[in-house]
């Protein structure tokens, strides 16, 4: 068993399909995955536990166009300053990259549907691995 098994990941996404898919994908890779669907549950997890890596969606209420609670969570995690990695995974477009990385200090921004492309499971896993290794 390698360090992957020990790595824990929290997935925050209001979309059932994404939670399921990510959980499935990451579990198959041997990570310990927990997933929550809303801001409050996520905040609770963040405050109670420490994960090696967080995967956060930005908009946590699908119907609210201006909801960016995911970034609030990012701020909470970074405030704890325990070296956890945060990946922002969003359905928004590329244009938010600078803001998310510079202003909010996320470790990575991954688009759910990259322009003119599709979500690539392998590259996603690779990125996760990179971030976790970086930590070690």
């Amino acid at each position: 068993m390698d360090n992957k098994t020990k790595a824990s990941i929290l997935v925050v996404d209001d979309q059932d399909n994404w939670r399921e898919a990510l959980t499935d994908l990451l579990s198959n890779e041997g990570y310990t995955v927990k997933s929550v669907s809303c801001f409050d549950d996520a905040k609770y997890e963040i405050e109670q536990k420490q994960f090696n890596l967080y995967i956060l969606d930005i908009r946590l209420v699908d119907t609210d166009v201006f909801n960016i609670q995911g970034l609030e969570l990012l701020r909470l995690i970074k405030e704890k300053n325990v070296g956890s990695k945060v990946v922002i995974l969003t359905g928004y477009a590329e244009s938010i990259r600078d803001g998310v990385l510079d202003r909010y200090k996320a470790d990575a921004l991954i688009l759910k549907v990259p322009e003119r492309s599709r979500f690539n499971s392998k590259e996603f896993i690779k990125k996760i691995q990179e971030l976790l290794q970086d930590k070690n």
Binding site: Q15, N17, A21, F66, L71, G91, V113, F119
Partner: protein, 1283 residues
């Protein structure tokens, strides 16, 4: 009563009145009864005021001097008009200075029909007693004129009445009787007919006469009628008592005074009946009545003959049975298209039926007034002779206009046959035919249709004949039948001819666009040769209708052979092609034996070929639906089993294509589908290298030319219609056989008219006016648009629309004078077909020209060099990209061109120069040399190469450095950059023939770098660039003008929905990403799972379910998008907070963003996304104004106006660069922007949204310090209060 038309009476009376007035030197008027108004009015006058003439009328029942004269028939002299109490128009008489008047009645045969009125002015002496006789005699003259008019009119009517076709004689006799009554103005008329062996006179019709004993039958010579029948002379009886021949039993002897008129009805000089008229009193009939009745009797005779002929047909059994046989034979001939052949058959039948020795039949062309030579001869001729010309005194010429057969028992007795004649020069012609051929008796039988001779047949006998009545009748009936047969054949021919011409037109008009059959077949062959061995290939076409196979293309041993044979197809045993056609399936023969068994010849149809037998044979049908259009066959001489299954498939596919292509080429009607035609046009235009195409004007001429073969084109016109402008104008016209100059006024464009042409265009249907009256009512002039036309009206008018799809291109019209119901069904059909053809042709030409114009440059390139294709494609895409960038500034456009052009040209060495026409300055907007951007200074237009292109508008092509140096050596030319360079090409950028600049490409050192194609590509690029540059310039100009918000406002409604949708769409994309984004993950999982040794199918099933549920979610989301958002209560604080959050995500940390908001704000009634969008635009605008570091401050608070209205006030302040004074009045203009990459309607739209919510937006700005936007929005409470 006067029954003739008023106008013709007036016309006749005018000169008469003039004469009377001259004789009497007094004003005169004639009063007659006007039928339509049932009044007496002045029909002619001299010396009276026009107003009075138009005004004056008298009702028959009105008491007046005039009506009194009409009733009594007595002359009346009114000595003092003013004191006459029954004078109707006293004041008028006073005005005209009239003192007295004389009224003289006008009579037609004792009947008073009007009054001659003579007026004596106050200053004139007049002695009535002296003048009364002359007045009476003048009145008699007028009466005579009136009677003539009356008679003419009556005869005309009667003629029409009698000669209208009748099958039953009783009706006919009634008609004759009625006509006589009318003509003679006499009630008592009887019609007798000679009947039976004793030639008794039998009454066939009579009008009741109180004095008439209605005796039904007279013996020959009995009574006055019998007398007339016997003598054959008409009889005017002034007093019946004068005649001893008058026998009791005819009239009631109580009536003493009685006059009569009796006229014999003659037929072929035989008396067949008598018309008898009688009236009370003595001398009732005069010579004029006699003439009238004679004319009537003549007409009656002809009518009776016609009816008799009809009846005799039923009675003469023998003749009839023979004739039936002939008729059947002749009808059978009718199918034949050959008139000559038909005439020959008629002559043959005639010889047999009439037992003649020699039949000669001359066909006569009525229109050309010529005989068609040579004549038909049946029977043995004693001497050979050829008639080259028929001279005027020849028997044939003399007899052609005889209505009836001429039976000559001894030809020597008849000078027509026997006398020598003058015309001929040769010996043959001087010897009479009858002498030459030893003719003793002859029957000359005219063959006539509608009283027009179409031929003349001579039945010649070398033995003396007696022509019995039966024989004569037989001959007559034969002639009638022959005439009908010829008529039918001519009609048949005419139909065929018309059809052929129609097809011809169709071809002529459409061949310009379509590939013909041969071209299609050649194309098929060419394509096939790329796929299979076609060295022995043939294409047979099969015509379902005629059952013919025709080899349209054949190759033998690689050489093209021309097989023009047509072999009738019968389903023979063993015919290979035939079998393919019959089975609608391929036939493959793979061995020499099989082929030999089937029979084989390289030339189809050649039965006993001694040549080499093929080893393999493959034929496939050309199928279209269920029809076989033909067969494509291949054979090979060297190998058995040469053709594979693939070969069959390929050949079949090819054959199917061929079938479609052939059908397309055949059915030009399919052209009507615009899209197909466009496709076809593009395809064809790319295949056709050149070829003469018809211009529109040529099409009109062609239509006219072709139509004149089909229709009477004396009056014809083609009008075109411009749908956009709603105008109609004429492009070709002919009036009364003369071609009209349609550039003259009246024919030119007219707008929104309501004429016949416009009606046709509007209804998309033909307009047929069949009578003079209809045309008149509809309005008519030979020159269109002439509303005051008083000339001759057409009697029949037909216009048909030229329609393609839903569009009416125009109208073609045809009309005729003087004949109602002129257009028959097939004329209408032909006109419509013509219009259809014309429409398609015109449309094709237009389409073609359109395509040609658009694609000329491109197609030329494509056609000439295939290798240019890719560059061309790029150029096209370049063009479309460029075209969409009209909002670019000039520099941006130059850069874009430079950036994009590298795909098809060397952009390392190029420049774009712009010519400023107003200041005559050449400006180099962009220049590169060896990949480096260089600056070429602007200059006053001089004598450089660029200027040369600007000046001439022509490209310059220089291949080598040497050539370039030579170029500059020409006197006056200047090398501004002091480097002649090597290869050099430059082209003008032209807009509407105006050179706006130059694009050049070159190389500093390399010679011969560019080809002519490069020049063309560069030119194409320059053309595209020119258009875009010009558009961009126009756009910039337009941009200034668009400031008028009024106009922009109009567009708000439509753009708003679009933009709203766009903002919703952005949200939708987000959702879409959420919903569909996971599908790839599941797919990845499935593919991972499948690549393992033991795939877990439960897992795969699970993943598939997930994909399914994602897809369902997508569909639901799509449904939601369809609904437009509705206004709702929006919390401004929430909105602003969310916006601030989002802004923070998207901006650098160096920009501080702050929000200050009153806790309890009234909500606003708005579409949330719209309002947020508007606010977002202003925020974004502020962020953009901050170049690097700075602050954005938002503030929201309630605001109560003095009048108590409640508002929400929002302030958005940035510490950016501010807005310059020049920009201040523009920032809310649509498409205004200082930022690249922005469309620039953001603020304009924001303002619109805010104003729609009944709010307002203002701003304050200081350059270098920042800007504050003030937004006022009414709270929802306010909106509700105000309803």
């Amino acid at each position: 009563m006067i029954t003739s038309k008023q106008s013709s009476i007036k016309q006749f009376l005018a000169p008469t009145v003039e004469v009377i007035s001259q004789v009497l030197e007094l004003p005169v008027s004639i009063w007659l009864f006007e039928q339509t108004k049932k009044q007496y009015r002045i029909f002619a006058s001299i010396g009276l005021s026009n107003e009075y003439v138009d005004l004056a009328f008298l009702d028959p029942n009105e008491t007046s001097v005039l009506t009194n004269v009409l009733n009594t028939g007595q002359t009346k002299y009114v000595t003092d008009i003013q004191s006459e109490k029954n004078w109707k128009y006293k004041s008028e008489a006073l005005r005209m200075n009239l003192k007295s008047a004389v009224f003289e009645p006008l009579l037609i045969k004792k009947r008073i029909v009007g009054v001659l009125d003579i007026y004596i002015p106050k200053n004139k002496d007049f002695l009535f007693e002296e003048k009364k006789h002359i007045i009476k005699s003048l009145a008699n003259q007028i009466s005579a004129v009136l009677r003539q008019i009356n008679n003419l009119t009556l005869l005309n009517e009667v003629n029409l009445y009698i000669s209208t076709e009748l099958k039953k004689s009783p009706d006919l006799f009634d008609r004759i009787m009625q006509s006589a009554q009318k003509v003679l103005n006499c009630e008592h008329v009887s019609v007798f007919l000679v009947e039976g062996e004793n030639n008794d006179l039998v009454r066939k019709a009579s009008s009741p006469s109180p004095s008439d004993l209605q005796r039904e039958r007279f013996k020959s010579g009995e009574g006055l009628a019998g007398l007339v029948a016997q003598n054959g002379e008409s009889l005017i009886v002034s007093d019946v008592r004068d005649f001893p021949e008058f026998l009791p039993g005819m009239f009631n002897p109580d009536v003493e005074e009685r006059s009569m008129l009796l006229i014999p009805i003659k037929l072929d000089n035989n008396i067949v009946g008598v018309i008898s008229a009688d009236m009370d009193g003595l001398g009732g009939f005069d010579e004029q009545d006699n003439i009238l009745l004679e004319v009537l009797a003549m007409q009656a005779g002809i009518a009776i003959q016609n009816v008799n002929l009809f009846q005799k047909e039923h009675t003469q059994a023998l003749a009839l049975s023979e004739l039936n046989r002939i008729a059947q034979q002749l009808i059978a001939i009718e199918e034949s298209s050959d008139i000559k052949n038909l005439l020959k058959r008629i002559a043959e039948v005639a010889k047999k039926v009439l037992n003649a020795d020699l039949i000669e039949l001359y066909e006569y062309n009525t229109k050309k007034k010529k005989f068609v030579l040579p004549q038909i001869t049946v029977g043995e001729k004693l001497k050979t002779s050829f008639i080259e010309e028929i001279f005027a005194d020849n028997a044939v010429w003399q007899l052609i206009n005889y209505p009836d057969p001429l039976f000559e028992e001894n030809v020597k007795n008849n000078p027509i046959f026997a006398d020598p004649y003058s015309g001929g020069k040769g010996e043959n012609s001087q010897e009479r035919f009858i002498i030459r051929e030893k003719i003793k008796s002859t029957a000359a039988i005219p063959i006539r249709i509608n009283k027009e001779s179409i031929g003349l047949m001579f039945a010649n006998y070398r033995e003396y004949q007696t022509f019995s009545t039966e024989k004569k009748e037989l001959i007559q009936l034969f002639a009638n039948q022959a005439a009908i047969a010829i008529k039918n054949a001519r009609l048949y021919n005419e139909v065929i001819r018309r059809r052929q011409i129609l097809i011809e037109i169709g071809q002529k008009l459409t061949e310009q666009i379509y590939l013909n059959e041969k071209e299609i077949l050649d194309l098929i062959y060419k394509q096939a040769s790329k796929l299979i061995d076609t060295s022995n290939m043939s294409i047979a076409l099969y015509d379902e209708k005629t059952n013919y196979i025709h080899f349209a293309l054949a190759y033998l041993f690689g050489r093209c052979v021309d097989i023009k044979e047509e072999i009738e197809w019968e389903p023979r045993k063993g015919g290979k092609t035939e079998q393919v056609i019959k089975n609608k399936k391929y036939l493959l023969l793979s061995t020499k034996r099989a082929i030999k068994k089937r029979g084989f010849s390289p030339i189809p149809g050649l039965e006993n070929s001694e040549g080499k037998i093929a080893c393999s044979w493959l034929g496939v049908p050309m199928l279209l639906g269920n029809r076989v259009l033909g067969v494509i066959a291949n054979h090979n001489y060297d190998y058995e089993h040469y053709y594979s299954k693939d070969d069959i498939k390929i050949l079949q596919a090819l054959a199917n294509q061929a079938g479609i292509a052939l059908e397309n080429s055949r059915l030009y009607d399919n052209l009507k589908n615009l899209n197909n035609r466009q496709k076809a046009l593009v395809e064809i235009s790319s295949k056709l290298t050149s070829g003469i195409r018809l211009k529109e004007t040529e099409i009109y001429e062609l239509i006219y030319e072709e139509a004149s073969k089909l229709l009477n084109m004396e009056n014809f016109s083609i009008a075109l219609h411009d749908q956009e402008k709603n105008t109609v104008w004429f492009v070709l016209a002919s009036v009364k056989g003369e071609r009209v100059d349609v550039t003259k006024p009246g024919w030119g464009p007219r707008e929104g008219g309501i004429g016949k042409t416009e009606t046709i265009i509007q209804n998309k249907k033909k307009l047929l006016l069949q009578t003079h009256e209809e045309v008149k009512n509809r309005g008519f002039s030979p020159t269109p648009g002439d509303k005051d036309y008083k000339g001759e009206m057409a009697s029949s008018w037909l216009g048909v629309p030229m329609i393609v799809g839903e569009r009416v291109l125009g109208v073609i019209a045809n009309y005729c004078y003087g004949q109602d119901y002129y257009f028959k069904k097939d004329d209408i059909e032909i006109m419509q077909a013509l219009a259809d053809q014309a429409a398609i042709a015109i449309d094709n030409t237009r389409l073609f020209i359109q395509l040609e114009d658009i694609n000329k440059e491109q197609w030329n390139l494509v056609n000439q060099l295939e290798k240019v294709n890719r560059r061309q494609d790029l150029l096209v895409s370049f063009g479309s990209q460029l075209g969409s960038r009209i909002r670019y500034g000039e520099t941006e456009l130059f850069n874009f061109i430079h950036e994009q052009a590298h795909e098809f040209m060397d952009t390392d060495n190029m420049y774009i120069a712009i010519y400023d026409n107003t200041n005559d300055i050449v400006r180099f907007g962009l220049a590169y040399k060896n990949g480096e951007k260089i600056e070429i200074p602007s200059r006053k237009a001089g004598r450089g190469r660029t200027e040369e292109i600007i000046r001439t508008g022509e490209p310059i092509f220089i291949a080598t450095r040497k050539e370039s140096e030579e170029w500059y050596k020409q006197p006056g030319r200047i090398d501004y950059i002091e480097d002649p360079l090597a290869s050099w090409i430059g082209v003008p950028m032209k807009v509407e023939n105006k050179v706006i600049g130059v694009i050049a490409s070159y190389h500093p050192t390399k010679d011969n770098l560019y080809s002519k194609n490069d020049l063309e590509i560069l030119q194409s690029m320059a053309d595209l660039a020119a258009i875009t540059l010009e558009n961009a310039r126009l756009y910039r100009e337009l941009d200034e003008k668009i400031l008028e918000l009024e106009k922009a406002q109009e567009k708000i409604a439509e753009s708003q929905t679009v933009i709203t949708r766009t903002s919703i769409a952005a949200d939708f994309v987000h959702r879409l990403n959420n919903l569909a984004g996971t599908i790839p993950i599941w797919v990845d999982q499935i593919s991972d799972n499948l690549s393992t040794d033991i795939p877990n199918f439960d897992d795969i099933k699970k993943y598939l379910d997930k994909i399914q549920s994602n897809t369902d979610g997508l569909l639901r989301a799509a449904e939601q998008l369809k609904a437009l958002p509705q206004p709702q209560l929006v919390d401004i604080k929430d909105t602003l907070e969310a916006l601030v959050r989002q802004t923070r995500v998207q901006t650098s940390e160096k920009i501080e963003i702050a929000l200050e908001c009153t806790e309890t704000l009234q909500p606003i009634n708005a579409i949330a996304s719209e309002l947020a969008n508007a606010l977002w635009t202003i925020i974004e605008n502020g962020i953009d104004a901050i170049s690097d570091e700075g602050k954005l401050f938002l503030k929201a608070m309630p605001f109560i106006e003095k009048d108590g209205r409640e508002w929400i006030k929002i302030q958005i302040t940035d510490s950016g660069k501010g807005i310059s004074k020049e920009q201040m009045d523009k920032i809310f203009s649509p498409f205004y922007t200082t930022k690249t990459g922005h469309l620039g309607y953001g603020l304009w739209r924001a303002k619109n949204i805010i104003e729609k919510l009944k709010g307002n937006i203002k701003f304050e700005s200081q350059e270098g310090k920042g800007t504050t936007f003030f937004i006022h929005l009414p709270s929802s409470m306010e909106v509700m209060k105000n309803g």
